[in-house]
Symmetry: C2
């Protein structure tokens, strides 16, 4: 189980990263995240939908209702160019923070 704050911070980069590999709909995102995290990340839909809406409002993704042959109606999300830039910014932020965390966790790494 992942703490609230950490979950909150990681939803955006994870969703953007997934969508950067292709279109997805909400429920699919939840499943992919669960699989890829080995079960560690188990998102609820009522937490995901507001996030997706926010991402769309800020122009990082766009959505469209689509129905494939014999499938049910689903809302598909695609990443925008702005979204890709934001994804890169997120990656930089995380990399910096992870480096700092490793330094406090293993202070020996800092003094060589």
């Amino acid at each position: 189980m992942i703490s609230k704050n950490l979950a909150a911070a990681s939803t955006k980069p994870i969703i953007l990263a997934l969508l950067s590999q292709g279109e997805d709909y909400g429920y699919q995102i939840i499943q992919k995240v669960k699989t890829l995290s080995g079960g560690t990340l188990d998102w609820s839909d009522n937490m995901l939908y507001p996030v997706l809406r926010r991402l769309e409002e800020t122009g990082l993704v766009v959505s469209r209702w689509r129905i494939s042959a014999g499938e049910r109606l689903r809302k598909y999300y695609r990443i925008t160019e702005t979204g890709r830039e934001e994804l890169e910014a997120e990656r930089r932020q995380w990399s910096g923070l992870i480096r700092s965390l490793q330094l406090v966790w293993d202070p020996l790494l800092g003094r060589e």
Copy 2:
């Protein structure tokens, strides 16, 4: 600059990790974090004090007012045994999440 959520999520493990190496007071924590992060993490005191109080309320740290020779009165924080356990739990959470993030960022790592 680090986003709000990410900052929120990282304060606890960073503070606990710092205190696991010895007693510190609030302002000193801010400075150490800034130095160790190379300036990336620049905490404000009004953000730190509520966090420290919360850590104390939940029993992860304890504080005492102390005045060293020729120094001014300062509030020093020490990590508790519960705090050390929580620190380990945080490390595990972060490690799991970081692994998941790397998988979505570099999907090739996943398929071998």
